[in-house]
Amino acid sequence: MLTTPSLDYNLLAPILIVLGGALLGVFVEGFVGRAYRARIQIIIALVTTATAFCWVISIHNLVSQTAAVDSVSIDGGGLFMQGAILALAFVALLFFTQDDHFAPQASALPGSQEEAAAVLAGVQMTEIYPLVLFAISGMLLFPVAHDLITLFVALEVLSIPLYIITGLARRRRLLSQEAALKYFLLGAYSSAFFLFGGALLYGFSGSLSLAMIRNAAAVPGANHIFLLLGIVLMSVGLLFKVGAVPFHSWTPDVYQGAPTAVTGFMAACTKVAAFGAMFRIFIVGFAAVQNDWRPVFVAISIVTMAGGAIAAISQRDVKRTLAYSSITHAGFLMAGIIALSKAGLTSMMFYLVAYGFATIGAFGIVTLVRDSTGEVNDLNRWAGLAKKSPGVATAFALFLLSFGGIPLTAGFIAKFSIFTAAYASGNIAIVVVGVLSSAIALFFYLRVILIMFFKEPTDDTVTVAIPSFLVTTGITICFVITLVLGVYPNLLFNLANTMTTLVP
C-alpha cells in the first residue's frame, strides 16, 4: 500500500514557481501570436525569477529536513545559493532581451534559404525563455538535493536546456552548433561517471541518501574502496560542471560558441548551483573521509588555478579569455570546498556572488562591442575602446580588476577571504599556488585594460552598440554590486554568516 509523500509547498515554492513560469512560457509559444510572444516571454521570465527570489527571502531562515520526504533539505546554505542563482539569473536575463542574439529559426541550416527567409520575416526564437527557466529550476534543485537520484535529476534538468541554447547563436552558427554538440557529448559522458559513482556509493552504503552514506562511512574499519571510488567518479560530474582541469576542455569552446548572453548566464549560475551542491555533498556525505579525498581536490585545484591562468595568456579572443578566467576561478572556489569549514562556506558564498555579477556584467559588455557583422571578440580590435566609449570601457575594466582581485573590488575580498579560510584549514600549498596564479592572471586582465585604454584606436576599431534600457540596467547593477561589495563587503558577509546552516 502506497502512502502519498508529504510535500512542504511553502519551502519548495521557489522551484515550483520557476517551473510554472517555464510551463506558462511553453503555452505562450503555442497560443500567442508571434508579434506579442517576445514581449510576453520576457515579462514572464523576469517576473517569475523575481517572484521566486522574493519567496526565497521570505523563507530564508527556515530549516527543514523533510521538505520533500527526505530528498530535499531546505536550510541556510541551500537557500543562499537559490537566492544567488535567482538574482544572477534575473540580471542575466536582462541581456537576453536584445533581439539579435539568437538564431531566428534554429532548425534552418546555416546559410540556407529558410534562414534568410526567417531573418527577413523577423522571426525570433522565443523558446529561449522557457528553456532558461527550466535550466534555472534544475539549478535551484541542485544545491538543496539530499539524495543521489534527486541530485542526478537536478543535474540533467539544468544541463539539457543549456545544451540546446548553446547552439542557438545568431552569428557564426556552425561554431555555435559545434559547441552545443560537444557540450552535449561531454556532458553525457560526465553524467555517466556521475551515475556510476552514485551506483558505487549505493553499493557501499545500501542507501541513496547523503545522511545514510555519511553514517556508513563513519563506521570504523569499513572497507572504503567503493566509497572512495564512488566519490572520485561522482566528483567528475560535478567538476565537469564547474569546469575544473582536466574536465574543463569544453569550457573555452562552449563559452565562445554560445550566444554571449547565454554564456554569461551559464558561467555565473551553473557555478553557483554546482559549487552549492558540491559543498553539501562533501560536507554532509563525505566529511568522514576528508583526509582521503582532499589530496585529490588539492591537486585538481592547483592544476585548475595554474592551468587556467597560464592558458589564458595566449588567448586573443575575449570570450575565450573570459572562459579561461572562469576556469581559474573554479580553482580558487575549490579552496572553499577544501577548507570544508564554516568560513570556507561563507567565503565561497561571497565569492560566487562577487564572481557571478562581474561575469554577467563582463559578458554583457561583450554583447555590445560590435561591427557590421555582429559582435567582435578579437581583442586587438578592442584597441582604444576607452576613447570611444569611456563608460563601457570603465565598467569592463572594473569587472576585470575584480576578477584579478584588486583591492576595493568585490573580487579582492572574495579571494582574500577564501584563501584565508583555506590557509586556516592548513592547506598552504593551494594558497601559495593561488596567490601566484592570481598574479599571472592579473597580467592578462591588465593587458585587456591596456589595450582598451592605452592603445590608439585603429581603423577597424569597433563600435559600441547603444544599449537598451534593460541592458543598461543590467550593467549598472553588476557595476554597483562589484564596487559596493569591494568597499563594504559586510553587507553580504553578514547575511552569509547567518546562512551557513546545512541540514546534516
Binding site: 565537469f240 589530496p295 592558458a311 568560513a343 583591492p407 592605452f454
Partner: protein, 629 residues
C-alpha cells in the same frame, strides 16, 4: 589613543577631486589642474593641523585613530577600515602632501602643452589619496589597499605618454616586479592572520611577542620581498630605471620622494617583527647593502640624466633599508634619511625636468654642458641638492647619511666593518656620479646644437625647486637638532639613544672619513670629465662596460628567474635569443610557450577532451589510492 574625525579628509579630498576630474572629462580641462593643486594643498593643511593637534597631546594620546566602518567580517577574520595617525605616519603625511603640492604646482607649467593635462592631474590626485591610505591604514590589509592603489597610479603615470611603445614596455616591467612584491605582501598578511588571528598592526604586534621565530622570519622575509618590489631593491630593482619614461614630475614625486620609499615605511612599521628575528634583519641589511652599491655603480655609467638620478634613488633607498635592518636605533635614521632624501632628490628631479624643459626634452647629459650661466636658478637649486646628497656639512644629507654609516659601524665585529665599509664606499661612488651629473650638465663648455635655446623655466617651476632646495639645506639640521626626530618616533619604534649602545666609532671620525672619501670621489669626477666627448666612448675599461650594462641585471634576472623555468620545458633552445631582453619578456615567453602547448591540447576534438577527462579520473583515483595505501 584618542579618536579624530578629520583623518578621513586627508584621503577623501584628493580621491574625490580625482574622480571628479575623470568623470567631468573635457569640461574640466580649463580649471582641473587648479582644483587638483588646491586639493593637494588643503590636504597638506589638514596634515599640518593634525600635526599641531598631536603636539597639544602627550603620551599615548598623541596618536589618533578614526574608524570608518567594519570592513570584512568572516569567520574569525575581522578587519575594520580604520585610519591610524601616529608619530610615524604624520612624517609621511606631511612629506606626501607637502612635496606633492609643490610638484602639483610645478606640473601646471611642466604639463602646460599636454592636451591631457587634466587627466594627468586626476592621476596625481589619485596617487596622493592612495599613498595617504598606505601610510594611514591601521592594518596590513588597509595598507595593502593603498599599496595596490599607488601601484596602479604609478602604472598609469609611467605609461602616461603611451604613444611611445618602449614606455609601455617600461610600465609592464614595473608591473611585474611589483606583482612579485605583492605576492610577498599577501602571503605575509595571511601568515599573520593564521599565526596571530589579526592583521591590524596592534594585533600583530601583540602576537609577535610570543610567536615562533620561524614564523616571524617567514613574515619578515615576505615583507622584505614586498618592500623590495615597491622600493626597487635587489633583486627586484630593474624596473626603476625604465620607469623614468614617465613625465618628470612623476619621477620626482612617485619614483623619488614617496612611493618608492613605501618599502622603508613597511619595514619600519613592522619593527616588532624585525626586532624579534635576527635572521630577517640580516636579510634586510644584505638587501640594503647590495642595492646601495648596485645603484651607485649603475649611476656612474648613465648618460641619461633621469636614469642617473633613478640609480641614485635606488642606492639611497638602499641606505634606508640598510638602516632599518640595524635594530631599533636604525629606524629613526632611516626615516630621517627618507625625509631629507624626499627634499633633495625631488628637488634634483625637478631641476632635471627644468633642464629638459629648456633643452627641448633632450635627456642625454653629453649634449648639455655650461648650462649654469643660462639657467642660474636651476643650477643653484640643483647644486644645493647635490651638496645635500654628498653629505657635505651642514646640508641635509650630512645629518642623515652619516648617522646611518655610523650606526652600521656600531654593529661591531666583522659585520659592522663590512656594513660600514660598504656604506662608506657607497658614499664615495655617490660623490663620483653626482659630481659627474653636475659637471656634465652645468659646467664646462656648451655641447648642444645651435638650434636649441636653453632658458630658465617659469616661476611656477622654479618656485617649488627653491622651496625644496631650502629643505635640502635645512631639513637635516632641523630633524636632528636635539635628537628631534629620534625622540619623536621613539613611541613607535622603541628606539632611544641609550639603546644605540656601544659607540665603537667616534662620530667625528666617521664624518671625517666620509668627507674624505666623498672629496676623493668628487675630485676624480671633476678631473675625469674636464672634457666630455659627445658620444659615449667605446674603448672603455671592463668596469665601465659592466656598469653600463646595469651590472648585467637583466642577464642576472634571466639566469635566476628564467633558466630554471626553461629547463622544465625541455628542448627550448632559443633561450639565447631572449637573453638580452631580460626577465620580463622571458618569464612572459616561458609562460607563453607553456600556454601554447596547452592551446594545442585544446584542439577542438571531442575525443581528445574525453580522453583528457578519462586520464583525469584515472589520475584522481591513483592519487586516492596512494593516499589511502
Amino acid at each position: 589613543m584618542r579618536t579624530s574625525s578629520h583623518l578621513v579628509y586627508l584621503i577623501a579630498l584628493p580621491l574625490f577631486s580625482s574622480a571628479l576630474l575623470l568623470l567631468l572629462g573635457r569640461i574640466a580641462d580649463k580649471w582641473g589642474h587648479l582644483l587638483a593643486t588646491l586639493v593637494s594643498a588643503s590636504a597638506f593643511g589638514v596634515g599640518v593641523s593634525e600635526f599641531i593637534a598631536m603636539h597639544s597631546h602627550t603620551g599615548a594620546n598623541r596618536a589618533a585613530t578614526q574608524k570608518l566602518f567594519e570592513w570584512i567580517s568572516v569567520g574569525n577574520l575581522k578587519v575594520d577600515a580604520s585610519l591610524l595617525l601616529d608619530q610615524l605616519s604624520i612624517c609621511f603625511v606631511l612629506l606626501i602632501t607637502g612635496v606633492g603640492t609643490l610638484i602639483h604646482i610645478y606640473s601646471i607649467a611642466y604639463m602646460d602643452h599636454d592636451k591631457d593635462r587634466r587627466r594627468f592631474f586626476a592621476y596625481l590626485n589619485f596617487f596622493i589619496a592612495a599613498m595617504l591610505l598606505l601610510v594611514l591604514g591601521d592594518s596590513y590589509l588597509n595598507l595593502y589597499v593603498g599599496w595596490e592603489g599607488v601601484g596602479l597610479a604609478s602604472y598609469l603615470l609611467i605609461g602616461f605618454w603611451n604613444h611611445n611603445p618602449t614606455y609601455a614596455v617600461a610600465a609592464k616591467k614595473a608591473f611585474i616586479a611589483n606583482r612579485i612584491g605583492d605576492v610577498g605582501l599577501s602571503l605575509a598578511i595571511m601568515i599573520c592572520f593564521t599565526q596571530f588571528g589579526a592583521v591590524s598592526f596592534s594585533g600583530v604586534k601583540a602576537g609577535a611577542s610570543h610567536a615562533s621565530p620561524a614564523a616571524l622570519t617567514a613574515i619578515g622575509a615576505m615583507l622584505l620581498l614586498a618592500a623590495a618590489g615597491k622600493s626597487a631593491q635587489f633583486p627586484l630593482q630593474s624596473w626603476l630605471g625604465d620607469a623614468m619614461a614617465g613625465p618628470t614630475p612623476v619621477s620626482a614625486l612617485i619614483h623619488a620622494a614617496t612611493m618608492v620609499t613605501a618599502g622603508v615605511y613597511l619595514i619600519t612599521r613592522s619593527n616588532f617583527i624585525f626586532d624579534a628575528s635576527s635572521t630577517a634583519r640580516l636579510l634586510v641589511v644584505t638587501v640594503g647593502v647590495i642595492t646601495l652599491l648596485f645603484g651607485a655603480i649603475v649611476g656612474t655609467a648613465k648618460d641619461d640624466i633621469k636614469k642617473a638620478l633613478a640609480a641614485s634613488t635606488m642606492s639611497q633607498i638602499g641606505y634606508m633599508i640598510l638602516a632599518t635592518g640595524l635594530g631599533p636605533v636604525g629606524y629613526a635614521f632611516a626615516i630621517m634619511h627618507l625625509l631629507t632624501h624626499g627634499f633633495f632628490k625631488a628637488g634634483m628631479f625637478l631641476g632635471a625636468g627644468s633642464v629638459m624643459h629648456g633643452m627641448d626634452d633632450e635627456i642625454n647629459m653629453r649634449k648639455y654642458g655650461g648650462l649654469a650661466k643660462l639657467m642660474p636658478i636651476t643650477a643653484v637649486t640643483f647644486g644645493l641638492g647635490y651638496l645635500a646628497i654628498l653629505g657635505v656639512p651642514p646640508f641635509a644629507g650630512f645629518y642623515s647619511k652619516d648617522k646611518i654609516i655610523e650606526t652600521a659601524f656600531n654593529q661591531g665585529g666583522g659585520k659592522g666593518i663590512i656594513l660600514g665599509g660598504a656604506a662608506l664606499l657607497g658614499a664615495g661612488i655617490t660623490a663620483f656620479y653626482m659630481t659627474r651629473v653636475v659637471v656634465l650638465t652645468f659646467a664646462g663648455a656648451k655641447r648642444w646644437k645651435d638650434g636649441s635655446h636653453p632658458h630658465e623655466s617659469s616661476v611656477l617651476m622654479w618656485g617649488p625647486m627653491v622651496v625644496l632646495a631650502i629643505g635640502s639645506v635645512a631639513s637635516g639640521f632641523l630633524l636632528s637638532a636635539g635628537g628631534a626626530l629620534v625622540n619623536w618616533l621613539q613611541p613607535v619604534v622603541n628606539a632611544s639613544h641609550a639603546e644605540g649602545g656601544k659607540e665603537l666609532m667616534n662620530p667625528l671620525v666617521v664624518s671625517i672619513l666620509a668627507l674624505g672619501i666623498v672629496a676623493l670621489g668628487a675630485s676624480y669626477a671633476i678631473v675625469k670629465y674636464r672634457s666630455v666627448p659627445e658620444v659615449a666612448p667605446e674603448n672603455v675599461s671592463i668596469f665601465t662596460e659592466i656598469a653600463r650594462k646595469d651590472l648585467y641585471q637583466d642577464i642576472f634576472n634571466d639566469a635566476v628567474l628564467v633558466k630554471p623555468g626553461t629547463a622544465l620545458t625541455a628542448g627550448l633552445v632559443a633561450t639565447d635569443h631572449h637573453v638580452i631582453d631580460g626577465a620580463v619578456r622571458l618569464v612572459g615567453w616561458v609562460i607563453g610557450e607553456v600556454s601554447d602547448v596547452l592551446r594545442k591540447i585544446q584542439n577542438g576534438y571531442v575525443r581528445t577532451y574525453a580522453l583528457a577527462m578519462f586520464v583525469g579520473v584515472f589520475i584522481g583515483a591513483l592519487i586516492l589510492w596512494v593516499v589511502t595505501a
